[in-house]
Amino acid sequence: MNETAGKPVFTPTEGMTGKPLHYCPGCSHGIIHRVIAEVLAELGVLGRTVGIGPVGCASFCEQYFNIDWVGAAHGRAPAVATGVRRAVPEAVVFTYQGDGDLAAIGIAEAIHAAMRGEKITTIFVNNAIYGMTGGQMAPTTLVGMKTSTTPYGRIAAEHGQPLDIPKLFAEIPGAAYVASGSTDSPKAVLQTKKYIRRAFETQMAGQGYSIVSVLANCPTNWGMTPVQSMAWIRQELMPHFTMGELKVPANLEPAKGGRPE
């Protein structure tokens, strides 16, 4: 007999509303939502957190988080977060942004929020493709990767190389905490959760801007099964982006196994 029989093996977090997610089967947005919600609940800050949403597959994510929420236009979440932060000094403020939202149309807002050392946290979800609009090239699309706007594959000479966001942001003085995790395995998810917690702790200690890049999948637009997509994150995405903790404030010990490779 299974020894877990009769015992709860899963409890919903109070950080989420319980509304069923609209994401495609196997998408890692749900995992990332959950670890953010768990961290906010564990920190005891659900009542004073304001989330800022992106445009992309997560455009409707306010309905899942049990916190106050402001939806931003495409790429503008760091500016909206700045406004909330300046208005409510005691709030915990974070943005949830995809690769198109942050690294393309919103790169100016993101870099300048970091430059100002704005006391906000950004969760950057990178799946190397535009999901909501149907699989177009992202700034983080790998060279050679076929998308609906790079039908012959991304060509470096024409489209440029993918942007390594964690590496770029680690160079910005106002960015106090920069980490890069993944969702390709339970172990990676737990590590990412640790990064997200430390990013919020950095904000709450008033140390400046914090960002956690999270490599995610897109089985639908990658044309893979969820299991294949997780393997693809490991084999193709992780070698192309700087992983681990890139920047840690002096008062925080680097997380175990969190050093850049």
Partner: protein, 356 residues
């Protein structure tokens, strides 16, 4: 004794905003509005506020959106290209029903144009300058005192109706100095901001969003906006009427042009011509009521604008074919002179008389 200060229009709107309770200003420098952001940078820290100089006007409008969503009184000042860059965010502010105050110190355009005064932003201000279906308050002062008064009023109107309010300045009004007495607007009963996204505490969560894929919900939201705009049109039109009771010719002009037109109407009256002036103070809701009323008796209208003919369309809608409507345009960042308007008035008074 009432204290009067000699200040620039840009300083007057800034100080009036602070006195109305604005403690957060987000903006990007652009001539001829930059005294506003500079004034705020100097003054806001003195009253416990903050000025954030954004990386662009795009960013500034969304910083305002965040602070307005959190329930704060917020403001920006801009001009020309900067006002264009804010229009995406203006659309979001409208959809979210968020009150903010935007001062547009308009300059000649299109493109960079020049730095001189213009009324070329009339359509952009009064038609909802961004995408989609919405309106904002547009208040048009014709002097520095009125700029201060309307700024103070605009915060209350914005909060009362949960709408954006635009102060329609221009390069002259922003830069010229006049004595100003800062005074409170008539007290309005304002609704509590129980919708503010500041953290839910132990209560239900608040969402400031405007996105749904359900057309039934979209329709409900759009109808709520349309009903609000109908109410504002019915109740919040403001204008100055001068010598219109017996006027054969009614001049319609706003802002700087309205001020010059008033001088021209004075000159025409001294010559015995039956001329009056309607100066719209609200450009949206457009001050149609006094025009509809006077169109019953007036024989013609002259619209004087510092643009190629924008407000004239609203005047024609209000006159509704009851009398001819002429347009006097001044372009390129120039202003009409009272003498040239008086001459145009003299010719048109002669013309409407021959139609009798």
């Amino acid at each position: 004794m009432v204290q009067k200060l000699l200040v620039k229009g840009n300083e007057a709107v800034s100080e009036a905003g602070i006195r109305a309770g604005c403690r957060l200003f987000f903006g990007y420098p652009i001539t001829p509005s930059s005294e506003i952001i500079e004034y705020m940078a100097r003054r806001l820290p003195e009253v416990g506020g903050q000025m954030v100089q954004s990386e662009s006007e795009v960013s500034a409008v969304y910083m305002m959106l965040g602070a307005a969503a959190a329930g704060e009184r917020v403001m920006t000042g801009t001009s020309g290209c900067g006002f264009s860059l804010m229009q995406e965010g203006m659309s979001f502010l409208a959809a979210y029903h968020l009150p903010v105050v935007v001062v547009d110190v308009s300059r000649h355009g299109p493109a960079l144009g020049n730095l001189d005064p213009s009324q070329g932003d009339y359509f952009q201000m009064t038609r909802g300058g961004g995408h989609g279906d919405y309106y904002t308050f547009v208040l048009a002062p014709s002097g520095v005192q009125e700029a201060a008064d309307l700024t103070a009023l605009s915060f209350d109107l914005a909060d009362k109706y949960r709408m954006q309010a635009i102060i329609a300045m221009d390069g002259v009004l922003g830069q010229m100095m006049e004595p100003v007495e800062f005074r409170d607007p008539p007290a309005l009963e304002l609704p509590a901001k129980d919708w503010a996204t500041r953290g839910k505490g132990n209560g239900p969560k608040h969402d400031a969003t405007g996105y749904t894929l359900d057309p039934v919900v979209s329709e409900q939201r759009a109808v709520a906006m349309a009903d609000k705009y109908d109410l504002v049109r019915a109740t919040e039109q403001r204008w100055e009427a001068f010598e219109t009771a017996d006027a054969d010719l009614v001049v319609v002009a706003y802002g700087t042009a309205g001020r010059i037109a008033k001088a021209a109407v004075h000159m025409a009256r001294e010559q015995g011509q039956k001329v009056g002036l309607i100066r719209p103070i609200t450009l949206w809701p457009f001050a149609a009521k006094p025009i509809e009323a006077v169109a019953q008796t007036a024989k013609g209208f002259l619209v004087a604008e510092m643009n190629i003919g924008q407000m004239v369309e609203d005047v024609r809608l209000a006159v509704n074919g009851k009398a001819p409507v002429w347009h006097h345009r001044t372009l390129g960042g120039l202003m009409p002179t009272a003498e040239e308007l008086a001459e145009r008035i003299r010719l048109l008074v002669g013309e409407v008389s021959t139609h009798e």
